[in-house]
Each structure stands twice: as C-alpha cells, then as structure tokens.
C-alpha cells in the first residue's frame, strides 16, 4: 500500500498537501488541470522531488529519506523514455544490467518480453526508426524487465493517436495482471481510462481535491 500524509512541497503558485492511500495492485488515474500538481504528485512518490514535510509510506516503510534509486518504482514519461544510441534490445536490457553484459537466462527474459510486446522484428532496430507507439512499447518492455512493483505513468500516451492510446492501455492492463503491479497514471484524457482505472484522484492546487468512481468523472468537476 502507498500512503501519503500531508506531503508538502513549495511550487510556483501554491504549496502541495497530498493525503491519500492507494492499495496494492490498484490502478489509479490522476486527473486535473495543467499546473494542478499531477506531475509533482508522481515525482514525490518516485523520489524525484523532495518533500519538506509529511510522510510517504510504501508497504508501511517510510520512504521520505530513501533516494529514488532505492525505491521499487518504474516510470514511463510522455517522451524521451529511450536511449537514442541503443537498440530496442539494449533499451530493454538496460533495466536488468546497465552495462548490458547479460547472462544467458537474462537474455532469454528479454527475448520473451520482446516477443510479448510484438517487437521481434525490431529487436536490433535503432530507436530513430520506430514509430511513436513502438517506442512506448519498448519503454514498457524496460518497465517489465525491471521487476519493480510500482509503475508511475506521466501522460505517457498523449502524443499517440486515440486508437493507439487505447491499445497501449490494453497492453498495460495485461502487464498489470501478469506482474501484479500497482499503477498510478496521470492522464489528460480520462474518458479513455474509465474502463481501466479503479478510481480517479482529482488534483487541484496541490491537493487531492476529490476521489471519483471512473463513471462519475465529468470535465466540469475540474
């Protein structure tokens, strides 16, 4: 379980004060206007931003003083998820061993993931030759190979077309079921996520303003 209690950090126009609980294995959608604090919410959980006060518990362990590298968390961003000088295979392998010197069983795991993501024909392709959807699938491959239990998604598919966005959400759903991970996803188009998330957290001026059942989401609530 992830538990945030009055986690506070000063932003440009306001100070955040996040208090919320997210259950293990849950998929939560984070919604709100631009600048409301959605990315900051994710950054605080990931450890990319340091809170001034408050408490962040993951499985009852205080995380505030734990560096980002020590937290069992993966992130998927809107863009720049991949190392442009590495191939598809290498970009996925980097989560297992950053020096890319893999044992045979580790290589087998990467091949499995690549096959699962339907990227076998692109295994040695360079990143520059991939489409937007393929790139995000490779990034998901890296997340899968890392075996981390929490996945943070920061509007990762907003640059894809609507059909592809749904396709990616379906893929994440399968990965979640397979790997039993907790997902927190900031999203700009909540209507598309209604069938996937268990609830939405509406963020307003640095606070969890409301919790909504997926079907209760309405744009005028912003």
């Amino acid at each position: 379980m992830i538990k945030l209690e009055n986690i506070s950090i000063k932003l440009d126009n306001f100070r955040t004060k996040f208090t919320v609980e997210i259950n293990k294995g849950e998929w939560v959608g984070i919604i709100g206007q631009s600048g409301a604090g959605k990315s900051t919410f994710l950054n605080l959980i990931a450890g990319f931003a340091q809170p001034e006060v408050g408490s962040l518990l993951i499985n009852n362990t205080e995380m505030r003083n734990l560096s980002a590298s020590k937290r069992s968390i993966s992130s998927l961003f809107q863009d720049n998820n991949l190392f442009p000088h590495l191939s598809v295979y290498q970009n996925i392998a980097i989560a297992i061993k950053p020096n890319l010197k893999l044992h045979e069983n580790e290589k087998g795991k990467i091949f499995e993931i690549i096959e699962y993501l339907n990227l076998s024909s692109k295994i040695h392709s360079s990143i520059g030759t991939l489409s937007g959807g393929e790139r995000q699938r490779v990034a998901l491959g890296r997340v899968m190979s890392s075996d981390k239990k929490i996945l943070l998604l920061d509007e990762p598919f907003s640059q894809l077309d609507p059909n592809l966005r749904i396709e990616m959400l379906e893929l994440i759903k399968k990965i979640r079921e397979k790997k039993k991970i907790t997902i927190i996803m900031a999203i700009h188009t909540p209507a598309e996520a209604i069938d996937f998330v268990s609830r939405f957290l509406l963020i307003k001026e640095g606070e969890v303003f409301r919790e909504l059942e997926p079907q209760d989401y309405r744009i005028d609530l912003y």
């Binding site: 990931a46 450890g47 990319f48 560096s67 980002a68 590298s69 937290r71 968390i73 993966s74 992130s75 961003f77 863009d79 720049n80 998820n81 190392f83 442009p84 000088h85 590495l86 980097i94 989560a95 950053p98 020096n99 890296r142 890392s146 981390k148």
Partner: protein
Amino acid sequence: MAQIKKYQWLLPGLIATFIVLSLILLSLAGIFEYTNIKLIQQIIGDEYIQRIIFFTIYQSLLSALLSIIIALPLALSVRKYLQYKIIKLILSLAWLSFVLPVIIGVFAIIKLHGVSGWFSDISVLFGYSKLNYIYGMNGILLAHIFFNVPFAIRIILFSLNSVPAELWRIAIQNNFNRWNIFTQIEWPAIRYNLFVTAAIIFSLCFTSFVVVLILGGGPKYSIIEVALYYALKIEFNIDRAVSLGIIQIFIASCIVLIILSFTKSFKVEPYTKLKLHNSNIENKKLLVYDFLMLIIAILIFLLPILALVISCLTAFSYVTIFGNPSLLNSIYWTLLLGLSSGIISIVFSVMFLITIRKLIVTYRIRWLANLIELSGNLILILPPVLLGTGIFLSLRNIYNIQEIAPYIIIGINTLTVIPFTLRIIGPEYLRVSYMYDKLFYAYDIRGVIRLLKFELPLLRRSFATAFAVAVTLSMGDLGVISLFGSTEIRTLPLYIYQSLGSYRMDNASVGIFILLMLVMSIIFISEYLLGGRDD
C-alpha cells in the same frame, strides 16, 4: 532606373565583399609574387621549416588532447553543482581566460609559473632553487590549457544540457553507477561536440601567435606564424617568410575545411541559459572525487587570475602611468586602433547582412548568401600575421609602410574580427527580419529608417556584444602591431611584450592593469549601457 533601384540592396554586401577580397588578394599577391618552383623545392627540403611544421602540429595536437582530457572530468563533476553560486562564479572567471586578450592570460601564467612567480617563490621558501620551467613546451602547454579548458568545459556542459531530464530519471530508477552514466548518457551526448571542440582547439593552438612568441622562449619552440614573424621582422629573410606563409595557408585551409564540415549544428550558449538537471544520482564517495576536481579547476583558472590581479594592484601607481609618456602613447593607440576596428567591423557586418538577409529571407537564394558570408570568413585561412606579411610585401615598394601603418593595422584587425561580429549579429538579424518583414513592407519602412529606427533598437544587445568582442579582440592584438608597430605607434600589448622582453616586470604589470581596465570598461559599457542589459 527602377530596375537598378529594385536591386540596390545588393550594393552594401557587394561593396563589403569587394573591399575584404581586395585586402586578402593584395596580401596573397604579395606572398605569391615571391613564390617560384625553386622556392617550393626549397620549402620541401628545408630542415628548419620541416621542424617548424612538425612542432606546430605536435604542440597543437598535444594542447588539444590535454585540454580535452582535463576538461572532461572537470565538466562532468562541475555539472552536478551548477546550482551553487560559487561554481557559477568559478566558471565565469574561467570563461574570462577565453575572452580576455591573450597577452593578459600569458602574463597571468608567468606571474604564477614564471621564474619569479608564486610557485618559484614557494620553492625558494622551502629551501629549494627557483623554478625555471615556464619557457618552451611547458609554458606553451600550460597557457593553452588555461585558455582552452574553459571553452571545452562550456561545450561539454552545453552538450549535456541536451540530455532530457527523463533519461536521468530512468538512470536513477535503474541503478546506473558512475560508469554506466558516463557510457550510456554522458558520452553519447558529448562525443560529437567533443571531437569538434578538439578540432577547434587544435586550430586555435595552431595559430597561437602570442602564447608561442612570449612563452616559446626562442626559435627552438616556434610555430609557423611566429617563425614567419622572426623571418620578416628579425632576419628580414623574405624567402623564408613566404615559404612559411604558403605552408600556413595550405594547412590552415585544410583545418578550416575540416572544422566547417563538422560544425553545421554546432552551437554554444552562455552558462546562464543552461538548465541542467541535477541528477542526485551519485554515490557519496564520489563527492570526494568531485571536490578534488573543483580544487584542480581552481588551481588551473583562479590562481593565475589571482596572481594577475595582485601583481597589477601592487605595481599600480598614478606616477608610473602619468609620468610615462610611452605608456600614455600606448593607451592612446590602443583605444584609437581598437575602437576604429570595432566600429568598422560592425559597419561591414551590417553591410554583409543587409544583402545576406534579402537573399535568404526575400529571394531564398541561399547559395549566393553563403558565398557572400564566406568572403567575410575567408580571413580564417589567413591569420593576421600572415595577412600583414602579404600586405607588407605588396606595398613596401609603393608606400612608406610606417606612414600607412595605422590604416593597415585597422584594416587587418577589422578583417580578423568580422567572422565573430557576423556570427553574433547574423542569426538575430535574420530572426528580426523573419518576424517583422511583413510589418516593414506593410508600412513601407525601409533603408536607413528601417536600420536606425527599428533594427538597431531591436538588435541592440547583439550589436553591443559584437562591438565589445570586436573592440576587445582588436585591442588585444599583438601579431599585427608587432609587425607594423614602431616607437611612435605602439599599443598596450606591444608595450607589455617589449617590457616583458626587457625584464621590466613592473612596467608590464602596469600595462596589463590598464589593458585589463580598458577591456573590462569596454565590455561593461557595451553590454550594460549600449546593450541595455539589466540582469
């Protein structure tokens, strides 16, 4: 008539091109007038010349290599602490070594490493003898490192700035160690620019006239340009000067071609514009390593500057300035020649750009615009001393060179700084044109009104920076003034050089102090008063 009026925008660029090319051709004519087959055979067989070429390339390669080897770990360590004001201050001071007149930097190096420098004094304090390592290869390398490492650091930091924040975050979440960060993030981001930087440093060291002239310590450690100066000014051996000139043109052309072919996407931003992401990624043990790197940076950049400032302050007195007519005369010529070259180079740059802008923005004839711009940059294959040598050879039988020396010096220094002023004003000038051309056409704003009432205010900062760079570069010139200068026409760099040569260190210190003050004043006046900079 209407047809002629339609193309009158071509005129400024063509006139500027004609004048620049005339000076360059005049110089080349002077050099080639003395060239024949016998001379070329002589060049190939002359052991002295072979030795000079070897040393020129050898010291340039070694300087470039050492600068990069030192700059790389320094930049990678410094990057993590850019949010601290003290680090920004160190970088700004280090950057001074790249923009100040070379002779000031050389003097700083001498004050620290020289026989009577700080390190030598410390050695004596501990009962050892004075240290005498500054003249020759050691001094040349020390100075080139002092001048070029800040430049390389700047390029590396700029390149790292292109790494998206997301990649640093992925690296954190996937437990990259220091080596992984270097191989997977830093090296891919910097390798291309690093190669270009090494090539640029090589070319700067290849024509590093002032450093080698002062710190080379004699003909044994001489580069082509300095040997050419010795041949013309000391030995008056025109054949040898011409031979060296031809070699210089050949090698410099090759270097410029190589650099130009790699520098299309090469761009440098000032530190203040950098937004680097502190990755907060390192092992705490690495803090000691980073601290060590910062100490090395301070030793390389700050100590010489500190030695320079202290030496200037202790040597300074109003009596030495106002009671010394030759020093006052040097100040007069420094200002006169520097300001003239600065103003003329700005005028020429505007003339080039008026035509270039029209060709690119209105007519989209890029090849012709590039050709005109190239004529402004041709000087890169003819370093100032060589250009001066050629002009001297062309005109020596027609005019009394001493009488026209100030005009020649202004002409050569103007040509030397035009590539810089073009680079500074050009992109902004085109941007303004793209933004406001429709407005200018709609209200029929053109010609001098457009230039003075609209473009000049819009481009105030670019013009101010270009002016500061042009004047400070011209004021710092030692190559051309040492060829054409005399007891009557002497600038501060020549005064300092002559004082150093006759071991009058106090005179040199006062000269350095005044030159430093003049340069800083020019930068301040240009950037803050003319440029209206308020930050």
